[in-house]
Amino acid sequence: MIATAAGSQLMLRMLAPFVWRSADKVASKLEGFAATEAGSALDMLKAAELTDDPKLRWLFFRHAMDEARHARMFREAARALAPDARATASEYNLIHARRQNLFSRMPLIEFIAFVYLAERRGELQFRALKTHFRGQAELEALFARIGKDERFHVAYSHKLLKTWRAEGQSLAVTRALWKVRGVRAWEAWRRSGRILGDVTSRLTLGTMYLVVLPIFVLLARVFDPPTPGWKRRPSPPSTLAAARRQF
């Protein structure tokens, strides 16, 4: 489930030449896709483990395997484009791919609504990218192959939502779809807030470092100089009172 796409396919096509302007940028974006797909595979695998419904379990498991395969395909394509420069980021991203535990956090209808919207966005994005990379056989084939899987994911999640609508849960499905859209917008807002907060806190702490710390630097250097070698001190006290202390 690629979660970074935004806007219509037309917008994607217009933006593609800027976003994917060099081999290094392409590799970097592919690495990002790989990490997202790896995280998504973890979520779908967990969903397959947790659900009691045999049909859903099969669908989720197949979906998880697809996502894991996509992660590897994206990563291999990125490495082929920029073998050295991206290697660290690649390994780091895959090691640190995050599961969001969506299946445990969301009711089933909402989970499927999330899958549907995310996969639809991903499918649109890959279709645009397939067009953008026309003439570059390997990348075109990559997006075509993965896009095909994404279409299956869109189809099964859409069918599930349609079935529930037909069973009289139309309101619940509509509500879930809007809720997921709302949550996504809220999370995007929070992400930007975090970035802003991060920059602000670094600036504040950096200023504090330069203004406040120098007073203490001299004290630390005069009264507490680092000394190598063995240190002896009493064993930590074995009392409950001492154990409750954080120092």
Binding site: A41, L42, L45, A48, E49, P54, R57, W58, F61, A64, M65, A68, R69, R72, R79, P83, D84, R86, A87, T88, E91, Y92, L94, I95, H96, A97, R98, R99, D198, S201, R202, L203, L205, G206, Y209, L210, L213, P214, V217, A220, R221, D224, P226, P228, G229, W230, K231, R232, R233, P234, S235, P236, S238, T239, L240, A243, R244, R245, Q246, F247
Partner: protein, 580 residues
């Protein structure tokens, strides 16, 4: 008495639960979140431990965190003062992390685990390590050495542990303080060699066997090892104290040559001078580490006069150095707990509260590492049926192991999933990928097509206890052998028969399998021995490159589906790959 130990916020978060001194459950958080080396509060691991014991958090007497957060914060602040103004880039990042979360550990722990502040205790970092080594060992008294990157201030500590009718004691004798740390030096050179810190150290160890220690004299310029075993780093080569992402300075590159670009091709045996240089630096680092640990063990012997040594901390996972200590050190026996790194701190913190703080007697030494979650065969069968996976369920273990031994003897490679998963980083026959140790192509095949990892990394053997001395130079009383914590020489006369597990230097990181501790895996290796005359299997962890070890059947099947494993055994169910 019920005590829950917790380690978190740096790397390898974990939880361990003791009931009346018995380790009921222990697991790393990464097994549940699938995030390798996950440092987050181990909520899932703690929940698993409580469920395994059938208790609630309210019934727990103490929740013990494995370090003293405020003392660690003090070290961070003082280091920044000492490094002023060069520590500016690191300062805002470190402070943001601390002010955002770590400084409020008490509240975070209570909120996440649902415990009260009255239940919550804090144990020093190195004391947690020391407790995990000593109380898991079979020794009633021992010298205890802890060596890791850094805890609060300590980087290396020497304790004396003793247990008797009056209770147990861990007496701190000496410690070295930050930044003088062999663990940090090893990590800095791990980064220099192009591997990820806190993950790639064992790759450096594997790489070292391909090189010659011709850079040893240059590495000796990085640090001085005193006659008393004290290590002093020359700080001009390192910047982990002040830099957020780099751990070594240009001075190190001036001394050793340019650092390896992460992910760059590395061919071993060496194809060019660069490959040779990196392998030789790794070999030199390994030699330096061994020399240092030996000096340290002599210091510990001189301070304690003990016969046995318990070793803990991340550096204790260096099984080549452990072997060096076993064969050249002044102690008769050595014990290393299987999760010797930070994960093991959770176990040690709980053991310290139980045995030292409350004086409960020790129950038994750790004989196996199967402390994780298990999955019922019925649950597995249902999962496979739902996922439309064809499988064959065996009614008896004898039939299952016979069939698996047959597949292995035909040079097939498979996954072996049985019982509770392992505590610590090693697969010991519960979540293992197994192959025929006689197959010369097995190592390359498993590296390239199954685990997708570097070709130079060796594989470990699992050998029947009854057969161990026939194939390896291993003592029957070796305390490290059941946990794969040491390497041993493969007997020269048998090396040609075990090409898949014999490393380039003629050694192997052996696991000795005892029937009483590991019955299913023992039965399998024994079935293989009956069929082939060789009671040895290649045994590696069931995961793909850069992933944590599998925990659940779904994760095991995901490994099978994404790799070229020939078969997978999930408890009594055998899944074979159909020709595509």
């Amino acid at each position: 008495m019920i005590v829950l130990g917790i380690s978190a916020f740096f790397h390898d978060a974990a939880a361990a639960l003791l009931v009346d001194g018995v380790v009921v459950a222990a697991a790393q958080e990464e097994r549940f979140t699938r995030l390798k080396h996950d440092a987050a509060l181990p909520v899932n691991a703690a929940r698993f431990c409580l469920e395994q014991a059938g208790v609630t958090i309210a019934q727990v007497d103490h929740v013990v965190f494995y370090e003293k957060p405020l003392r660690k914060f003090e070290r961070i602040l003082v280091t920044h003062l000492r490094e002023f103004p060069r520590s500016l880039p690191q300062f805002s990042r470190a402070l943001a992390t601390w002010l955002g979360k770590r400084l409020w550990s008490k509240g975070e722990l209570c909120a996440a685990l649902g415990c009260t502040t009255e239940q919550l205790l804090f144990c020093e970092h190195h004391l947690s390590h020391a407790a995990s080594a000593f109380f898991s060992s079979p020794f009633q008294s021992a010298a205890v050495i802890t060596v890791d990157g850094v805890g609060e201030w300590a980087t290396t500590s020497i304790y004396r542990g003793s247990s008797g009718p009056d209770g147990s004691k861990l007496e701190l004798l000496e410690e070295l303080h930050f930044p003088h740390s062999i663990g940090l030096l090893y990590s800095a050179l791990t980064a220099y060699l192009g591997f990820e810190v806190n993950d790639g150290e064992y790759k450096v160890m594997g790489l070292s066997a391909y090189g010659e220690p011709r850079f040893l004299d240059r590495l000796e310029q990085l640090c001085a090892i005193g006659d008393d075993g004290a290590l002093t780093l020359d700080e001009k080569f390192f910047c982990f104290q002040r830099h957020p992402t780099r751990s070594f300075t240009p001075a190190l590159e001036a001394l050793l040559g340019p650092a390896r670009v992460p992910g760059a091709a590395l061919h071993l045996p060496a194809r060019d001078e660069e490959d040779r240089r990196f392998a030789d630096i790794a070999a030199s680092l390994q030699k330096l580490t061994e020399r240092y640990l030996l000096a340290l063990s002599h210091r510990a012997k001189a301070l304690t006069f003990e016969r046995n040594l318990a070793l803990a901390g991340g550096v204790a996972l260096n099984c080549v150095a452990n072997r060096h200590l076993q064969t050249h050190g002044p102690f008769e026996q050595l014990f290393v707990q299987p999760a010797a790194g930070d994960a093991g701190g959770s176990l040690g913190a709980a053991q310290w509260a139980t045995h030292v703080l409350h004086g409960l007697p020790r129950v038994a030494a750790m004989r196996h590492a199967f402390l994780g979650a298990a999955y019922a065969p019925t649950e597995i069968a249902r999962f496979l049926t739902d996922c439309r996976v064809a499988y064959h369920a065996f009614d008896s273990r004898a039939d299952l192991v016979d069939e698996v031994a047959r597949l292995l003897s035909e040079q097939q490679v498979g996954g072996w999933f049985q019982g509770r998963f392992e505590w610590g980083p090693r697969a010991l026959g519960a979540r293992s990928i197994i192959a025929d140790a006689r197959d010369p192509k097995a190592q390359d095949r498993v590296n390239r097509k199954i685990k997708f990892r570097e070709s130079f990394r060796p594989f470990a053997p699992a050998v029947l206890a009854e057969e161990a001395a026939r194939w390896f130079d291993v003592s029957p009383t070796d305390q490290l052998a059941p946990f794969m914590c040491s390497v041993v020489p493969v007997r020269p006369e048998t090396r040609e028969r075990l090409p898949a597990i014999t490393h380039v230097d003629g050694t192997a990181r052996v696991q000795v399998v005892h029937a009483e501790d590991n019955p299913a895996f023992h039965a399998l290796v024994d079935a293989f021995r009956r069929r082939t005359g060789v009671g040895v299997l290649l045994n590696t962890s069931m995961n793909l490159k850069d992933e944590p070890l599998c925990a659940s059947p779904a994760e095991a099947y995901a490994v099978f589906a994404r790799s070229e494993l020939d078969f997978l055994v999930l408890e009594n169910c055998l899944i074979e790959r159909r020709p595509s």
